[in-house]
Symmetry: D2
Subunit: 367 residues, 4 copies
C-alpha cells in the first residue's frame, strides 16, 4: 500500500509513523518519494492486520492510504499525481517537455576522441553526453574501458561543452567514484537485476538511467526501478533498449510499444535506445522517429566522430551528420504531433530548441 503523508507533517511525525509501521509488522525497505504536494511511503502491507492498517490510517501524519495490487508501489502511476521529471543539470526527462537527446560514443577511448564527440554531439543538437568508462563486455578479452581515467576524460568533455554526462556503473564499490564525475548513473541491461548495485546507486542520490534487461518483462523492469525508489531516490529514468528474440538479423528487437505501455503504468520517464535496440546503424534513424512517435521522453544514441574506428559497437554507431538529421526530424515529429503545447515545461524547452533547431528546414513554422 502507499501512504500519502500530509504536507505539513514534521520530521518527528514522520519518524513516529515509521515506528508505528514497524510495530505493526510492515515489511521490506520503506521507500519515501518526495513528489511535490506531499510525500509518499511505499509499504508492503501483506503482514498488516486490518486493525493495524486502521491504526495507521488514523494517525495525524497520514493524509490517505491507497491499496495497490501491483507489486511495484513507488513506481506505480498511482503513487504520484504528476509525471516525474528527472533533472540532470539543466536537462529534464519526463513531464511532457521536448524529449532530450543524449549522444556520445560507446566507450571513452582518448581525450581527443571524447572531446571531439562531445562537441559534435552539442553541435548536432544533443543535450547530454554519454560515454562508457567501465564497459561490461561479453568477452573478457574485449576492450573493457579506461576505468577511472575514462571517467575523468568524460567529465572534462562535459565541462568543456556544458553537457551533463551519463555513464555506466558496474559495481556497488564504484558508485562513489562514478557519482563524483557524472551527472547521471547508468545501470546497464546486464545489471538490471543486480540488486546490490541498484540499491547502492539509489543511495548516491544521483539521477539513475535504468536500462531494461534484454529478457526482462515490463513488471520485472518496474520492480528493478522500485529497488532504486525504495532508497528514497525518486530520480529514475527508464530506458527501453531492445529485447532478445529469435531472429539474429538485428541485435535486439526494440520494443517500441513498451514506451506507451510503461507510461500507462508508471509516473517515471522512459527513453529509447535505438542503437542497442537494433544493433544496425541504418536502423537508428527510423527507430528514433518511431520512438518519438510512440511518445518517448528522450533518446540515447551511440555516436562517434568516425564510427568505423570505434573500439566497441561500431556496427550500431552513427556519425555526427546523421545525429543532426535525427535531432531535426525527431523534433519536427514532436511538433507535428502538437505535443509541446500541452505541458508547463514547454517554454524552457522551446528556448533550448530554438538555439539549435532551424525548424523551417523541416517544413515547420517556429511557434
Amino acid at each position: 500500500m502507499i501512504i500519502f503523508i500530509r504536507t505539513d507533517a514534521t520530521l518527528d511525525q514522520r519518524a513516529e509513523l515509521r515506528h508505528a509501521l514497524a510495530a505493526e509488522g510492515a515489511r521490506g525497505p520503506l521507500g519515501t518519494l518526495p513528489l511535490g504536494t506531499g510525500d509518499v511511503i511505499g509499504v508492503d502491507a501483506s503482514m498488516l492486520t486490518r486493525s493495524g492498517r486502521e491504526r495507521i490510517s488514523r494517525m495525524h501524519t497520514v493524509d490517505h492510504i491507497v491499496s495497490i495490487k501491483t507489486p511495484y508501489k513507488l513506481a506505480n502511476l498511482a503513487a504520484s499525481k504528476q509525471p516525474t521529471r528527472v533533472h540532470v543539470g539543466g536537462v529534464i526527462f519526463g513531464g511532457g517537455g521536448i524529449p532530450p537527446i543524449v549522444a556520445g560514443p560507446c566507450s571513452v577511448e582518448t581525450e581527443s576522441q571524447i572531446i571531439e564527440s562531445a562537441q559534435a554531439a552539442k553541435a548536432a543538437g544533443a543535450k547530454m553526453l554519454r560515454g562508457g568508462a567501465f564497459k561490461p563486455r561479453t568477452s573478457p578479452y574485449a576492450f573493457q574501458g579506461l576505468g577511472v581515467a575514462g571517467l575523468k576524460l568524460l567529465a572534462r568533455a562535459g565541462e568543456i561543452t556544458g553537457l551533463p554526462v551519463v555513464t555506466e556503473v558496474m559495481e556497488p564499490g564504484m558508485v562513489d567514484v562514478v557519482a563524483e564525475h557524472a551527472g547521471m548513473l547508468q545501470i546497464g541491461a546486464r545489471n538490471m537485476q543486480n540488486y546490490s548495485l541498484l540499491v547502492a546507486a539509489g543511495y548516491s542520490n544521483k539521477p539513475i538511467l535504468l536500462k531494461r534487461g534484454p529478457s526482462s518483462t515490463i513488471e520485472e523492469w518496474l520492480l528493478a526501478a522500485e529497488y532504486i525508489l525504495s532508497t528514497g531516490n525518486p530520480q529514475v529514468v527508464l530506458c527501453e533498449r531492445g529485447i532478445r528474440s529469435f531472429d539474429s538479423m538485428t541485435r535486439n528487437v526494440l520494443d517500441v510499444a513498451a514506451i506507451p505501455l510503461v507510461k500507462s503504468l508508471t509516473h517515471l520517464p522512459v527513453i529509447s535506445d535505438p542503437s542497442h535496440g537494433t544493433g544496425r546503424r541504418e536502423l537508428v534513424h527510423p527507430m528514433s522517429l518511431a520512438s518519438i512517435a510512440a511518445g518517448t521522453d528522450g533518446l540515447i544514441l551511440e555516436m562517434h566522430p568516425r564510427p568505423d574506428e570505434s573500439l566497441s559497437d561500431a556496427a550500431q554507431t552513427i556519425d555526427p551528420a546523421l545525429l543532426q538529421k535525427i535531432v531535426k526530424d525527431a523534433y519536427a515529429l514532436h511538433f507535428a504531433m502538437g505535443r509541446s503545447n500541452d505541458f508547463s515545461c514547454r517554454t524552457d524547452n522551446i528556448d533550448i530548441v530554438h538555439e539549435s533547431l532551424p525548424l523551417e528546414t523541416v517544413g515547420l513554422q517556429s511557434k
Copy 2:
C-alpha cells in the same frame, strides 16, 4: 540467380529459354516477375554447371544474369529497379505514396455490422475495408466466422462504400470463392508457412497480403513471399503483425524495426498491423504513429462501431472516433517527414488526402 529477359523477347523465345534452363538442370518452380522494363526469372542455379550458365547467358533472350546469394531471388531488392506498387482497386501500396489505411472489424458478424463498419471506416479516412469471413481460431469452440455468407456481406459493404476489401483465405480449396468476392487475399500469420496455400493464392493472380508468422524470421517471411512470387504473381504486400515474446503484457511485440529492415531487403511494400501487434486498444494509436515514422507503406487496423460487442479480438479493436484520430495524426506525421513529395504517385494521393484531412487542425499547412 536471376535472369533479366530482354524487353523484346517473344513468347516463343521465352519458352525456348525455359526449355534450355530445364535441360541444364535448373531446379524448383521457375517464377516470372513482370517488373516494368523487362521480365525477370528466378532460377535455382545450384545445379547449373559453369558451362551451362554460360550457354544460358549467351542466349538472345537473356539481357543479363545476376547471381544472388540470398535465398530469396524474386523478392530480393536486386530483382527490381523500383519499389513494387501493389494496386487494389484505386488503392496503391508501396512506391512511396501516402500509406493507405485499411480498417474494419475482426469478423464479419451481420449485414448491418459490416455495412456500418465500412461506412465508419470510409468516413474516418480509411481507403480499404478488412473483415474476416473465415476465422482461424485457436479454439475449435470459438466463433469461426460466417464463411461464404460473410464473404458476400463483406463484398456488398465494399460496393456500397466504394472501398476495396481484403479478407483471409485459409485453405487452397477456398481460394477461388474468396478471390471472387475480395479485391485482395490475406494469408494469416498462422498460415505463413502453409506452402500449398501460398501457391494456390499466388495462382489466383489477386494481390496478396502476407502476414508475418508470430515467430518467423525476416528471411523465412521473405521466402514465404517468394513462394507466391514464384507463381508469377508479383502483387504481394508484406504485413508486420507482431512477434511472440516472453512478456504476456502485450499479445505480441510489434517489431517496428522490421519495417525499415525489410524495405532494405525487398522491393515489396510492407505494412503494419498495430492491432494484432499489441493486442491492446490503447496502444494502437501510438504504434500506428510509430509505424508511420518508421516508414510503413500502410496500416491495417481492427475497428468496430461498438468494439466491446465484437465477437472476436474486442480487446484490440478501436472505435471509429479513434480511427479518425489515427488517420489524421498518421498523415500529419507523414507530411512532417516530407515524404509525400518524393514520389510520382503523389498527386493522386494528395487528392485523396485533401478530401478527408483538415491538416491545419494538426498544425501543418496544406501544400
Copy 3:
C-alpha cells in the same frame, strides 16, 4: 463442458441430445469421442443458461456432465478414465507400454533409398517407418519431395518390411491420397494451426501425429488436437519437436519438460522428436535418452543409410548404427525405471523387444 453419454444410448437418443443442445444454444463443432465405457461429447457451454444445462442433464441419454475450465475439453485428462492408446498397425502409442521408435529418412528420395532405410530401421529395432513425400520447405527452391510417387514408394517399403508408415500431409485436398498409402498422417509443425487441414485430417479417421508448432504454447497445441478430436477421431499422438529460442547453436530447443507436463493435462500420448528438436546429429542420442527418462510414449528419428547424402536435414540425420544404439539404450533406460511392468500391454511389447534387444549387453537381465 463434457457430457458423458450412457453406454446404452441409441443412435436416435444421441440425435435427440444433439438437437436439444443446439436448441439451448450450445455453440461450435460438437465432437464425439468414443472412449471405452461410454461416449463423451464436448460442448461450449458458455451460451447455455443454467436452466438449459439442467434440462440437458435430466435427459435419459446423459449419464453425467463435467464442467471443464480448460479450453480444451476432449483432449483434457478429465475426458477419459484411461490414457488413450493409438494403434497404427500393430504398433501402440500410449498407455504405458514400451515406447515405439519410429525411424526413417527426412524425404523419400528413390526406391532403393527408402527400401534400404526401412530395412535398416527394422534391423535396428524401430517399429515404424517415417519418410516425407510432400516436404514443406522454407525455400521454394529447395527439394520439395516426390509427391504421390514418393507416397507409393514409402508404402511399398512398409509392405516389404512389415513396418507401418507415417508421412506428412500438407493440404486438405491431399488427405485422401495420403490416407490411402499411409498408416498414420503427420501434421507438421508449420501447419499445427492450419485448422482446415486439422479438420480434414481428422475426418480421414486415420491416426494423426500432431507436431507442436515451434512457438506454440502447450495450450495452443492441445487446442489444435481438440480440432482433430472434435471430428470424432480420437486417434491423436502429440509430438514435441523443439521450440524456437534465441540461441542459434541448436535448431530448436527440445522442451523435454513438455512431455511430463502434457501427460498431466491430457490422456493423449506424446512422443519426442530429438532430430528436429536439436538439429544436430550428435545430440540425438542423449536427447532420445532424456526423452525416455522424462516418460515419452515414443521417439521419432531421422535416419538415413548414408546421412551425408540426404537431400534434406542431413545435419540432424543419424545412421543405422547410431539408431541401433539409441534403441538399445532407450529400452535399457525404460526397463531400469521399472516402467514396463505397470501396464497390460506389456506382454506383447516385451515379445517385440525380445526379438531385437540383447538386454544383457546393457547390463540388464531379461525379465
Copy 4:
C-alpha cells in the same frame, strides 16, 4: 590463442613470458589455468603480429601454441586434455564419476529449518547442501534472506552433517564473507554477466557454481566462465537452470540439450537445476532423470522439510521423500547406462553410493 607452458618452466621463466607477451601487445586479462601435465595461458592474440607470435613461440618456456577461433580460450575443450574435476570438500563434479546431488531449501530461514533440511538431504542421499542467505528477489518487498546470519546457520548445518555447502554471493564486497562460510560460491542467473562479481568471485579461489542466465546463449555463458577462469581459478561448475520462453505454463524451459552440447565445447563440468528449470514441483523428478540421461555431472534441487511453508520458491520445492526417490532413480539410470565404469574416479564414488543406495530395489545388481 592458448600457450601451453613446459612442465619444467620456472617461476622466473613464466614471468619472462608474461613480459614478452605484454611487450608484443597481447591484450586483456591473462589467465593461467593449471591443468595437470603443464600450464596454459589464454591470450588475446588479435593484436599480435605474425613475427611477434613467432618470437613468443620460440621462447624456451613455451611448449606449443594453439590458435583458437572460439572466443573463449580457457573454457574451451581444447584447453585441457582431460575433463576438469571440481572438488568441494570430498565431492567431485565432472570427470565422469557418479553425479553428485546437491539439495537444500531455497532460503535459510531458521536454525532448525536449515539443520533439519541438511539432515534430510543427507539421509536422502544428497552429497552437498544448498541454501540462500542473500536472496536476489525480483521485488524489493519479498523476503531477501537472513544475510550473514544465514551464512553462519548454513555453515553450521554443513558442519553437523558433514555436507559441503554452496550459497549465492551477490556483490563483490560480499565475496570474502561468503567464501569464509561456504565451500562453493554460486553466481546466480541474474548475475551471470555481472563481470565485477565474476572476477571478484574468481579471485576468492573457491570453486564457483555459475548459473546460466535465463536468456543467455551458450557462448555468452562460456564467456562468463572465461571471466572467472581468467583470474587463474580453474574450479568452475556450469549450471543449466532453464531459459526464458513464451509459454508461461512453466517458469522456464530447462534446456536439457545444453548439457551434452556444452560438454562438447568445454572441459568444465555442467550440472542441472530442474527446480528453477521448471518451477513446478511435479516436474522435478522427470527432469532430474532426463538430465541424468543427457549426461549431467550433477543435480541441484530445492528441497524443504515442509515445502508448502517455504518463504520462497515453494511451488518448485520438493520434500525429502521425493528427493530420496530422485536420488535412487537417478543413480539407477546412471548405472543402467553403464557410465560409472568408464572413469578412474569410479571407485570412490561407488563407495559413496553403496552407503546410501539399495540398488536392488530399483532392479539393478550391485557391481
